[in-house]
Point group: C2
Chain length 114, copies 2
DNA sequence: GTAACCTATGTTGACTTTCAACGTAGCCCG
DNA sequence: CGGGCTACGTTGAAAGTCAACATAGGTTAC
């Protein structure tokens, strides 16, 4: 299992990246992260729902309700332009942090970027 | 500036890595991280000192007081065997998280692992 | 028809982490 | 002797996390 601090640090980039691929909603995002991480990242609704609300308050995403046949209604989230900028920034910050760790660990074949 | 969550996620691996290179003490560790990150990671004593105490409680480091000429005494920290194992684990977890992000971002030349 | 489970959104209360601010103290410089 | 640096530490307020709870519609199986 990935430790809380590390999962926490990647929540924003991951959610923004998923939404960059297309609109989605809370419940699905939780499942997709669980799937993407082979079960190593298990976000709960108590974390993700408030987090999505904060993204909305920051203007990084827009939300709308969608009625669905034979299922509860869903609250879909869509990236805004501002959200796309934020995603680029997140990627850049990841690169910066990586550079710092590489200063300590050195280039390692087992860490190859693939 | 690196966001809090990301800095937080790297504190443990960075401190363990620094101590793997040799013994050090709180005040110096703060300076070395500041230097290593080109000023992007500014840990305060309110965070680092309690964190070092928790590493000690976990048995990852050992501490001893050292008197110094013309300066206040220092509390030096040294990695234990258990701490070395923890460092390896931290590296592995970083690799895992990286793999997850790469699934989303794909191999990118600008992210080359050097 | 009802129990069990899944989808889907949300809140709450307890816990942990973080940080600016403060406190203590020794040293050096002008 | 005031200012700044080194060096350890704590505190109180704010923020983040999560198990648990609440609500509600749907399906499956018996």
């Amino acid at each position: 299992m990935i430790p809380r601090a590390l999962a926490s640090a990647t929540l924003k980039p991951i959610v923004l990246s998923l939404l960059a691929e297309g609109e989605s909603y809370g419940y699905e995002i939780i499942q997709r992260i669980l799937d993407l991480s082979d079960g190593q990242m298990q976000w709960t609704t108590g974390t993700l729902y408030p987090f999505l609300h904060s993204l909305e308050n920051e203007g990084l995403v827009e939300a709308y309700w969608q009625a669905v046949e034979n299922a509860p209604r869903r609250k879909y989230y869509r990236l805004t332009l501002s959200g796309r900028h934020a995603l680029l920034q997140e990627k850049q910050q990841w690169i910066n942090v990586n550079r710092i760790l590489m200063k300590l660990w050195g280039p390692s074949p087992e860490l190859a970027w693939t």
